[in-house]
């Protein structure tokens, strides 16, 4: 079969390029243990209920006055379903999922994160306006997706 010279050169170049790309990916994966960019804190989704970080979901105050909220998401509820936090104080949410991907969106604020099984999702925000906020799961999670919601109450007084 006759193959044009330019075509041969191009095919050779293509093979070289593929080899170089594959080589660099393989080298990166093994030599630097690099993975797709993702959240770094992992957790075994089968053991979330006994893991010390998520054994007691709820609100706690840290020594510096900031507030930490630990939430466990599962089909089709948040635990705890009602969260009470003070206004004007940094609030750190730490979440994980016991089953599939869920969402955790506080409507009317930019507090919103995907809750991915196997990972701990964390974000910090501050609420300026006291009041009741609706929390919804906005990642489709199956039959009961529409009932998966919670309530956030932002209060003027100090944290409990």
């Amino acid at each position: 079969m006759h193959v044009d010279l330019y075509e041969k050169i191009w095919m050779g170049l293509a093979v070289l390029m593929i080899a170089a790309f594959l080589g660099s990916i393989t080298y990166g994966a093994f030599a630097f243990a690099s993975h797709p960019p993702s959240h770094v804190e992992t957790i075994d989704p089968k053991l979330v209920r006994t893991d010390a970080r998520f054994a007691t979901p709820g609100v706690s105050t840290r020594p510096d006055g900031s507030v930490q909220v630990v939430v466990l998401a599962q089909m089709f509820s948040f635990q705890p379903a009602e969260i009470r936090v003070p206004a004007h104080v940094p609030v750190t949410f730490r979440l994980t999922s016991a089953d599939v991907i869920h969402g955790f969106a506080i409507v009317g604020s930019n507090g919103n994160t995907m809750v991915v099984p196997g990972y701990v999702s964390q974000f910090t925000t501050e609420f300026a306006r006291p009041g009741d906020y609706l929390i919804v799961c906005n990642e489709f999670c199956g039959l009961g997706h529409h009932v998966m919601s919670g309530k956030l109450i932002v209060t003027e007084e100090e944290a409990p």
């Binding site: 969106a105 990972y119 999702s121 489709f140």
Partner: protein
């Protein structure tokens, strides 16, 4: 005279079947395959539209019980999958097939049988996926199919099997189509049809074809990993087994965002044909329109993670993708302004095709602006996976792709049939559809900001979303009426429309130089091209078309494409048996078909 005799074909034509169902099954004529694609896309459009109406009926009022949550989940999953893969893409491919060879002065596409194979694999894939409704097990994981919800542990049953196998088939069809059109446009242009003289629609077809060939393999990889997880017990995506669900999101959107441009660029091409014709002016800034189309194709590869701002990728990734997303708005904006500049000072004729094209400018711009709102990651967190996003992508895909495709249908229907679509019905169609569209999707911006998430089967009364949702439902049914009018127009005009000559719109490009509908060989003599608007150059010298040359070689019909496509269907369909060696039966049929294909005489 722009069109002169250039070269004569020599090989004798083989026997041609001219009528009957068998001639359609074995056809390799790009015009017939285009009609097959278009008709199938229209039928799937009715199916997907019906699904949309059922969804809107369910959401019309709070705590409605019209359909149950399980049915609802199947409806929205199939609505999204159908509209993207079985409507918007094949409708564009229908025009690639019918129009591109005519625009570049070719007698067929580069690989006519491969073209037929693309169509049959697409049709079988679409029918396979929709056949799941007969078993009551339609896909129910959302069109994005996020794992682990679609993995073996949380999605038992055949639902997701149908989805993942059907989509794999559609991917094969798209890759074959992309290869075919790249080769056709690069190799089969008439003498003098330089790249920078090609009509914009042909250019956008070329860019889209490159996107098809590069993006579809990514979804193929994602789907194959999911097939392994589901059928062979691997855990690529299962965190319990050391896999990573975020990997699916990256792969899906690495395909998914170029896919968005696969959907919109053909419509941009159609609008870029319609607006100059009905403004009686050459397209403003031709070169920059071409370059911005190419740029969109390139940058489209660097924005996928803006679908994942809520996943938690960290500030560096979020910042990169936010900026890339803002940058891609620039070439898109260039196109909008160039269309406006084309109309500026033109002699405008508001035919139905032109109305739809202007409708694209108005609607797509709104969708583009809400897209920029998403590109700012902090703002996106308030909109992520709410109805605001639903509003945004319907403004781009419906307001851009579907309205643009309707512009293309009204524009090129006379070329395909020799008759005009009725303009009075067409205007009713346009206004009902345009107003219905905005009535449906504009309220969704507020519905989303008020906190209604996507993909919920119902909502509570106290959220105060009832009246806006009712408005959206009324809009959806208005569009339903518009579609019925369009169907009636299509059926009626096919037989009773006003008969017109080769160039009813006084357009500039080559497809309008030949009779309507074009003969099987398209061009009696291959034209020679001297400019971007060959039919607007020295029109007074146009003589009567010369008689066809006696011996034009056209490939004979072939039944091997449908045999191979059936083999592909068996290969994927037999996975449902869940025995690893059964699909090999389909592989054997593919191999048998390809062997015979390779040695078929006359090709």
């Amino acid at each position: 005279m722009a069109i002169t005799k250039a070269r004569a074909a020599t090989v004798t034509a083989g026997p041609h079947a001219r009528g009957g169902i068998w001639s359609w099954i074995t056809t390799v004529d790009h015009k017939r395959i285009g009609i097959l694609y278009g008709t199938s896309a229209l039928v799937f459009f009715l199916v997907g539209g019906l699904e949309a109406l059922l969804i809107r009926a369910q959401l019309a009022r709070p705590e409605n019980g019209f359909v149950g949550p399980e049915t609802y989940n199947q409806l929205f999953t199939m609505h999204g999958t159908t509209m993207v893969f079985l409507v918007a893409m094949p409708a564009a491919v229908a025009f690639f097939n019918y129009i591109v060879p005519l625009q570049i002065g070719a007698r067929d596409v580069a690989f006519p049988r491969l073209n037929a194979l693309s169509y049959w694999v697409f049709l079988f894939g679409g029918l396979f996926m929709n056949s799941s409704f007969l078993l009551g097990q339609a896909p129910n994981g959302g069109w994005t199919g996020y794992v682990p919800l679609t993995g073996p542990r949380f999605a038992p049953g055949l639902h997701i099997d149908f989805w993942v196998l059907g989509l794999s088939m559609l991917g094969i069809s798209s890759i074959l189509g992309g290869v075919n059109f790249i080769t056709t446009i690069i190799n089969l242009r008439a003498p003098g049809m330089r790249l920078m003289r090609m009509p914009l629609f042909t250019w956008m077809t070329l860019v889209t074809s490159f996107l098809l060939v590069t993006a579809m393999p990514v979804i193929a990889v994602a789907l194959i990993l999911l097939i392994f997880d589901r059928f062979f017990g691997t855990s690529f995506y299962a965190p319990a087994g050391g896999g990573d669900p975020v990997l699916w999101q990256h792969l899906f959107w690495m395909f998914g965002h170029p896919e968005v441009y696969i959907l919109i660029l053909p419509a941009f091409g159609m609008v870029s044909e319609v607006i100059p014709t009905f403004s009686r002016k050459p397209l403003f800034g031709y070169a920059i329109m071409v370059y911005s189309g190419i740029l969109i194709g390139f940058i489209g590869w660097g924005v996928w993670s803006h679908h994942m701002f809520a996943t938690g990728l960290g500030p560096i990734a979020d910042a990169f993708f936010a900026i890339a997303t803002m940058i891609i708005a620039i070439p898109t904006g260039v196109k909008i302004f160039n269309w406006l500049a084309t109309m500026w000072g033109g002699s405008l004729r508001f035919s139905t095709a032109m109305l739809f094209a202007i409708g694209v400018i108005a609607s797509f711009t709104i969708g583009g602006i809400s897209g920029i709102m998403h590109s700012a990651a902090p703002a996106d967190l308030q909109q992520h996976d709410t109805y605001f996003v639903v509003a945004h992508f319907h403004y781009t895909i419906f307001g851009g792709t579907i309205l643009g495709t309707f512009a293309g249908i009204y524009y090129w229907f006379p070329k395909m049939t020799g008759r005009l679509l009725d303009e009075r019905l067409g205007k009713w169609h346009f206004w009902l559809m345009f107003l219905g569209f905005h009535l449906t999707f504009f309220p969704m911006h507020w519905i989303g900001l008020l906190g209604m998430p996507r993909r919920i089967f119902t909502y509570y009364d106290e959220l105060g979303l009832g009246s806006l949702n009712l408005l959206a439902t009324i809009g959806a049914f208005t569009q339903g009426v518009a579609v019925v009018l369009f169907l009636w127009n299509l059926l009626r005009s096919r037989r009773h429309g006003v008969v017109v000559g080769p160039n009813p719109w006084n357009a500039a490009t080559l497809e309008w130089s030949i009779p309507s509908p074009p003969p099987e060989y398209n061009f009696a003599v291959i034209p020679e091209v001297h400019s971007r608007e060959p039919l607007w150059e020295r029109r007074e010298a146009t003589p009567a078309p010369p008689a066809p040359e006696p011996a034009i070689h056209l490939p004979p019909p072939s039944h091997w494409p449908i045999v191979v496509a059936f083999g592909v269907l068996l290969t994927f369909g037999l996975f449902l048996a869940n025995v690893w060696w059964v699909p090999l039966g389909g592989v054997a049929l593919v191999a048998f078909g390809v062997m015979n294909w390779a040695f078929e005489p006359g090709h």
